[in-house]
Amino acid sequence: MKSLAEIERRLDALEAAASGSGTVAAAELVELGEAVLEHWVSAKGLAPTQETREGFRLLALHRQGCTDDPSFNACRETCRELAYHHNLVTSDPQHPATPQRLLMMAMVARHLFLFVTGKMQVAALGDFCCASRPIRQQAEPQEID
């Protein structure tokens, strides 16, 4: 598993470059997103899934990360934006907007990294807002919405 420091270094590099082979960079950014989620899932004592959802392991890992923790859903759209930009880039790598799309993708991946690493330090990140969990309530499995 890639270390968080290594993931951050690659995100810096990919954001700075945001060019080169669009397809390769887009694939790496999705892999970095998966690596971030692997850290979260592993920290919960689970084996990161190898399954895919809508063609992306990233989305399956996000779903796995939400188990018993609805506030993790706060990064659902971030994961979906990564998948969306991956599809945009790989469907037409020569498109003039590819460098911009890769830049956006790198920044979305960084947001996922910041959210997950922030949540690994303070698990309650997100609990207070869109997916509150009563502080007196025992952790119970909840439906992912």
């Binding site: 706060a74 979305v108 910041l114 807002c129 509150s132 969990r133």
Partner: protein, 311 residues
């Protein structure tokens, strides 16, 4: 048959506590935009806290009761059909209370008991419809109606629309969303884009529309919040935005405060301006910067707006 346009002409207005404090500019600009559009706002009498984040996390049923009281006053005392809450936290909590009271008998029992104790009518699910300020303008006036009333224009102002997390999450408390054309999307919300676009703005492709800003952790874990906000600001700038339009007082305050903190603590300055969507709409409707409370924001956008010919 009553249409949404008719129904939203006169609504109960629930500003909530943030709009009386840090987000006074949002309160002021919402009311001014309502006047300019010919929409009536009648403030909920003797309103109380919606239970916000703190009560909700200590005792969610108490939050359900607090939110239900606001709706009960609107329905039973004011005889209103619609409550409009511009604050994402209030909007979210009233929608959550509505959902709980329609689906959870235990919540119904608690709300009934507390309402009787407090001496007011118990709110029954379905008595009022709770909407956001975006719904109010989108369905009460619409893009075409807005265009007819414009006295100015946002003149190609490049805007990143930031909706925050509570406007669309969790999806099950917003049953009216994701119903196809004309309705709001929970995955890619667009009402703010549509309205500001109608007022002349150019909406940039912004992939962090609903991303977490670390809002509630702004004091307990400031560095995480600052880094999340900084990434939102940098992404908006990289997307070509000159302004981030907001519709949530928590997000707005967070973006403004952490923009300053990011520069001071991490030496990462950003130039993008942060304005409530109602402030931008108000300017396009011919209101002055003072009328929409530009002077009440933390950051100073006046010079920029004048330079762009918008103020």
């Amino acid at each position: 048959m009553t249409t949404a346009k008719d129904k939203y002409q006169k609504v109960a207005y629930y500003p909530g506590c943030a709009l009386e404090g840090t987000a006074h500019a949002y309160n002021r600009s919402t009311q001014q935009v309502g006047k300019a559009l010919g929409l009536d706002l009648v403030e909920v009498k003797n309103w109380n806290c919606c239970g916000a984040m703190e009560v909700k996390n200590i005792d969610p049923k108490l939050q359900t009761y607090l939110s239900s009281r606001v709706m009960a006053i609107a329905a039973s005392e004011m005889k209103m059909d619609v409550v409009m809450a511009p604050c994402n936290g209030c909007y979210h909590n009233l929608k959550k209370a509505e959902y709980d009271l329609a689906h959870d008998p235990a919540s119904v029992e608690v709300v009934d008991r507390l309402s009787q104790k407090a001496g007011h009518a118990t709110y029954q699910a379905g008595q009022v419809e709770t909407i956001h300020a975006l719904d109010w303008i989108m369905h009460g006036i619409g893009e075409a109606g807005l265009k007819q009333r414009l006295k100015g224009s946002l003149q190609g102002l490049k805007v990143a629309n930031y909706y925050g997390c509570m406007y669309t999450r969790p999806r099950h408390i917003f049953p009216e969303k994701d119903k196809g054309p004309g309705t709001e999307s929970t995955s890619k919300p667009h009402f703010m884009d549509d309205l500001l676009g109608a007022a002349g703005a150019v909406n940039v492709e912004f992939p962090l529309k609903t991303a977490c800003c670390g809002g509630a952790h702004t004091l307990s874990d400031s560095d995480t919040s600052t880094k999340l906000v900084l990434n939102i600001l940098r992404t908006a700038e990289a997307a070509g935005a000159e302004v981030i339009a907001t519709e949530c007082p928590t997000c707005h305050s967070g973006l403004e405060m952490h923009q300053v903190r990011a520069e001071k603590k991490f030496n990462q300055p950003t130039k993008v301006k942060i304005l409530y969507f109602t402030q931008l709409l108000g300017l396009a409707l011919g209101l002055s910067p003072r009328q929409v409370g530009v002077h009440e924001n933390i950051s100073d956008s006046l010079g920029f707006l004048r330079e762009k010919g918008i103020a």
